[in-house]
């Protein structure tokens, strides 16, 4: 059945799957956002313990989604994987290092004789939540702003910028996208913790988390506006009917209105995020994470759809535009995409058991009493 689909349909399906995984990763960054809250929102040791343990049962989900995001791009769009990771070398290495230090921090932070002390691992968590997310935003930003690379006749990448990827962090759009993600993650982190913790033993923490939700949203909103306004006025690379790549004025604004779904997703997503903050800040609601999370997923989908569909370039080359990547010239073969689509059919099952376990574990909110048995 799937094998009878044409290649371009499969490529579109796989960009959709990559977009869904990427958007879910943006939602799950509530873990990273929560980690940064340790620095300014948690005031006592008990509050820190509650936050770390609340996030501690979820961090691997975010981590695994990042790994799957990389694996899906490797399998479905290997040229994008090879060009971006091999080309923008230092930015990806820096991102990876922030996730390496995160992976040990939950388990080692409170253990006796842990070499770096509790503070050392809390700094690691903060670096992952701030620098890691910022650089991910910058790296995703290059899907719009482009990068300095060329490909030879065998499609082997040569990078033409001496900073080897770190230059992405010096572009205002990329940085704005990165900072938007950092503060969005902090909003989501606050919303998640409000939903997950029993505040009877830490009433002040609840108050500060509500304040944090509002404050971080205001900062996030500034960067979101910069990103959106830039996107509307930005030129982008498009593919003509005869396969040539050319600069198109207002490319992403055109992409936005070319498909009403994009507009619905973007406005719906923004509305849900705003609603989640409103009910949390002014109505003392604790379930804002579900609106904020869904809103983030919808906005994330819009971002990936804008860059991938409507004959756009998913990775523009600034120095050699004809080398720019699209979902059509960067993908795996028909056979691989077909086989992988069959494999992807187990995703709903995976999603179902994650939801089941999440509900089983979170039916009772986390309190300090729970941490007597086992705690990070």
């Amino acid at each position: 059945m799937i094998g009878s689909l044409d290649l371009s349909t499969l490529q579109a399906i796989w960009w959709l799957l990559v977009s869904v995984i990427g958007a879910l990763f943006l939602f799950l960054q509530f873990v990273q956002g929560g980690q940064t809250l340790l620095l300014d929102v948690a005031k006592t040791e008990d509050e820190k313990t509650l936050i770390v343990n609340s996030l501690g049962v979820k961090w691997e989900l975010t981590f695994t989604t990042l790994v799957l995001f990389g694996g899906a791009i490797f399998a479905a769009f290997p040229k994008l994987y090879a060009t971006s990771f091999g080309g923008a070398y230092w930015v990806w290495i820096a991102i990876l290092l922030t996730f390496v230090i995160q992976a040990v921090s939950y388990e080692y932070r409170k253990k006796p004789n842990n070499l770096l002390g509790q503070k050392g691992y809390e700094i690691f968590l903060f670096i992952n939540g701030s620098v890691g997310v910022l650089l991910i935003g910058a790296a995703v930003g290059t899907f719009f702003t482009g990068a300095n690379f060329e490909l030879n006749e065998y499609n082997f990448v040569t990078w033409t910028h001496p900073l080897r990827g770190l230059e992405a962090a010096f572009n205002y759009f990329n940085i704005s996208l990165g900072l938007f993600l950092v503060f969005n993650a902090r909003v989501l982190g606050s919303l998640y913790l409000l939903n997950n913790i029993d505040f009877n033993s830490a009433p002040d923490l609840e108050k500060r988390l509500r304040q944090s939700t509002g404050m971080n949203f205001l900062i996030e909103f500034v960067f979101l506006l910069i990103v959106l306004v830039s996107l509307i006025f930005m030129s982008g690379y498009g593919v003509t009917e005869d396969g040539e790549i050319e600069i198109v004025a207002y490319k992403y604004a055109r992409n936005l209105i070319a498909n009403p779904i994009n507009i619905i997703l973007l406005l719906g997503g923004l509305g849900l995020v705003i609603w989640s903050v409103f009910i949390t800040r002014f109505r003392s609601a604790n379930h804002g994470i579900w609106f904020g999370g869904l809103g983030t997923i919808l906005v994330g989908l819009t971002v990936f759809f804008l860059v991938g569909y409507n004959n756009s370039c998913i990775y523009p080359s600034l120095t050699h535009p004809q080398a720019s990547l699209t979902i059509y010239n960067a993908s795996s073969t028909h056979y691989t995409l077909t086989a992988m689509t069959y494999v992807a059919m187990i995703i709903p099952f995976v999603f179902a058991y994650i939801v089941y376990v999440w509900r089983a574990m979170d039916f009772k909110k986390l309190s300090l009493d729970d941490l007597k048995e086992k705690a990070y």
Binding site: E107, Y154, T336, I354
Partner: protein, 511 residues
């Protein structure tokens, strides 16, 4: 295909990947094996309701968690290093190699990470049965993860189910079942996982022996040893069986690897297997020096291992490099000639396509197809480049195999004295037991060296040398990355060891 190759950079890239993989391989096998042992302990608790088994389970789970965290940390780097440092490879084989990595994410990592949270934090939040199921899910998830990464690795050793597309200059998948069920993949998975079960059993025996020597936690230590020794013995017997199969597969698909780990310079029939040997480090191909200062051989056993007969001809390194027409063996010298024709005809084909010269492109393609089996050899300057490091291979293989047989004997001793309840009075065995974990670690790393150094100089056996597979970086960049990783991993390893030793010193809750 590439204008210039910076060999220094290629070697730094290899060193970087080796560093990451060898660090990861300290922790990953322990995760693979310990997850099952913990599941067995918890099963006994579930069936008996005996609280002391619960505390025993939780103790080993705590050590498991400390190890698991750093295993995850080093694992993420491996996946992405294919992109950052081997980007030509990633593009050329992404169709085939990326698929198992993506399946690993979907089918294994989520299982592992979702139920890991229940295993550690769910004791008071879910039912006993659900908790036990979760512990098994972590074991199944981590071992499924090993399956998919080893399927990918096996394909590098024995590329099947694919074709080379000259238009895109890529290897493209044609048969995913052939990739998954390749005999090398099955052999790799069974050998690697069973050796990991063995390694984790050694860990439990080491720690428990130390407790018995110190007269602490006696009941828990004896129980832990009994379960781990039985599991370890079964695993170590299976390791011998799967190791034999792995060597047989090497003989069929990577004869250079087999000849290198036996330092088998000149082919012979019947061929003996070296039990012990000290190599002459000055030995070169085709010189008159003896390859060994000292050696002890099992007659005919190499023939049996490689050919499944007592008198089969086993080609030596010189046969494989220079050829042996009498035995019908084509050497790297002859393969290089054909490989260079394949590389040149591929370039001709692409040039002809660019010029829309249909006849020339058809002829070039026919020439390429006739020689493509030797494509990778076309990038060599000297046939000796096809030779992996014989010294590293020989010693790694013999240390691994020797330790493997020693472990069988030790597990039997622990089972015998354990079931007689005489472990506490057998100090010599306990003293032997404490360093077992370190011997297991040496065997694990040696095994990894045999598998991966033996693949050199290939990224994909016979098709793509590592010198072509790499990212176009300068050697300073890769060297800097190497030292950053070395520093970070070493700090984390020291932290892990300190935490682990402190937890072991502290011991389980008393029952």
């Amino acid at each position: 295909m590439v204008e210039t190759i910076d060999i220094g950079m290629v070697n730094w890239s290899r060193a970087l990947f080796a560093l990451t993989a060898m660090y990861h391989w300290i922790f990953a096998p322990l995760t693979l094996g310990l997850s099952w042992i913990i599941a067995f302990y918890e099963t006994i608790y579930y069936r008996t309701g005996d609280e002391s088994w619960r505390k025993l389970t939780k103790f080993w789970m705590k050590l498991f968690g400390i190890n698991f965290a750093i295993g995850v940390a080093t694992g993420i780097i491996l996946e992405f290093e294919f992109g950052t440092n081997w980007s030509n490879y990633s593009w050329m084989v992404g169709d085939i190699f990326g698929a198992p990595l993506a399946i690993e994410g979907i089918a294994a990592f989520f299982l592992e990470s979702t139920f890991f949270a229940v295993m550690f934090f769910g004791w008071n939040r879910v039912s006993k049965r659900f908790h036990l199921v979760s512990t098994y899910m972590v074991a199944i998830g981590s071992n499924l993860s090993a399956l998919w990464i080893l399927v990918a690795n096996a394909w590098m050793q024995y590329p099947v189910g694919m074709t080379f597309n000259p238009d895109t200059a890529r290897f493209e998948m044609q048969d995913i079942m052939a990739v998954i069920f390749s005999p090398v993949a099955i052999s790799k998975f069974t050998h690697t996982t069973s050796s990991s079960f063995l390694f984790a059993s050694l860990f439990v025996v080491s720690v428990s022996s130390w407790y018995l020597l110190k007269q602490r936690h006696l009941k828990m230590a004896k129980r832990s040893i009994l379960v781990a020794s039985v599991f370890g013995l079964v695993a170590s017997l299976y390791v011998v069986f799967t190791g034999d199969e792995a060597a047989f597969q090497d003989a069929r698909h990577q004869p250079m690897k087999l000849a290198a780990f036996e330092a088998h310079y000149v082919g012979d029939s019947p061929s003996g297997l070296i039990a012990f040997g000290i190599m002459n480090p000055n030995k070169e191909l085709r010189d008159d020096r003896n390859a060994f200062y000292l050696k002890v051989k099992f007659p005919r056993m190499l023939s049996l291992l490689a050919k499944r007969t007592f008198d089969g001809y086993v080609p030596g390194l010189e046969d494989l490099i220079y050829g042996n027409p009498n035995e019908g063996i084509m050497g790297a010298v002859q393969k290089m000639k054909r490989g260079k024709i394949a590389v040149a005809s591929l370039a001709d084909y692409k040039a002809a396509k660019l010029n829309d010269d249909i006849l020339a492109s058809k002829n070039a393609l026919e020439t390429f197809r006739a020689h493509e089996a030797y494509f990778g050899y076309g990038f060599f300057e000297q046939p000796e480049q096809a030779l992996p490091s014989v010294g590293i291979m020989f010693y790694s293989f013999h240390i691994m195999a020797g330790l493997g047989f020693l472990f069988i004997l030790i597990f039997i001793l622990f089972i015998v004295f354990g079931f007689k309840d005489k472990l506490s009075q057998t100090g010599w065995l306990l003293k032997l037991g404490v360093p077992l974990f370190f011997l297991g670690f040496i065997a694990q790393e040696a095994g990894w060296l045999v598998a991966e150094v033996g693949r050199q100089p290939w990224a994909i056996q016979s098709m793509l040398p590592v010198s072509i597979a790499r990212t176009n970086l300068d050697s300073g960049t890769v060297a800097a990355t190497f030292f950053i990783f070395l520093g970070l991993f070493t700090i984390l390893l020291i932290a892990e060891i300190k935490i682990m030793l402190t937890q072991i010193q502290h011991g389980p809750e008393e029952v």
